[in-house]
């Protein structure tokens, strides 16, 4: 079955990004297709590569990036939500005249249309948030 997932909250502060990660892993292990995960609201903050969690804690961003690398899950970060919160890739940083970028590997920045498209194309949509 095709499952789409939405993550609406940032890492560590709310459990949403953890719950979604475990759900996606379980769905993939069961043979379902999770073609895309859409990060919205504070969920875009999952995608910064600058986090340095304590050594005895899980690394939420790296967990997600690994899902992209190992299972080809498309991790899409909403551009409008990301700009409000300071999440940028190198292209956007350049275009906006910012002197740094912070998007992690495996994530890509795109528009809200990707969320609607995911709703249209999947059999089930599961939203994790606060």
């Amino acid at each position: 079955m095709k499952i789409g997932v939405v993550v609406n909250e940032g890492p560590y502060t709310h459990q949403a990004a953890d719950s979604a990660y475990r759900f996606v892993k379980a769905a993939l292990e069961k043979g379902h297709e999770v073609s895309r995960v859409f990060f919205y609201h504070d969920g875009v903050n999952v995608a910064t590569r600058l986090t340095i969690p304590p050594q005895d804690e899980r690394h939420i961003q790296k967990n997600w990036s690994a899902l992209a690398t190992e299972h080809g899950v498309d991790l899409v970060v909403c551009i409008a939500a990301a700009q409000r919160r300071g999440i940028l890739d190198a292209n956007e940083a350049n275009r906006q005249g910012k002197d740094a970028d912070n998007l992690a590997e495996g994530f890509r920045i795109s528009g809200l249309g990707q969320l609607i498209e995911m709703g249209v194309q999947t059999d089930r949509l599961v939203v994790f948030g606060d």
Binding site: I3, Q15, A16, A26, A27, H32, V126, V127
Partner: protein, 102 residues
Amino acid sequence: MSTLHMVNKSPFETGTLSSCLKHCKAGDAVLLIEDGVYGAIDGSSISDQVKATVGDVALYVLDGDVSARGIDAGKMVSGTKSVGYDGFVDLVAEHDRTMSWL
């Protein structure tokens, strides 16, 4: 045609579980995750409302979230079913739609 309702908030902090239960239809299921699992504790200020709904509506809790919060299985409303993430995935697949009560 049935709905899987997901509730991730404590019913003692917010009215989310209460609102969810009022919008369930017979054959629907409610899955409690994260702080939502507190909604399955029996003998609480919300448990009468939960018990009045369970039966027509199936009540599930995510076991990892229950264990993390130190809730004993014996303290839960009778009829509550415990699932892991694999069971969570099955519930999503078995119901026609998933609705998150955020």
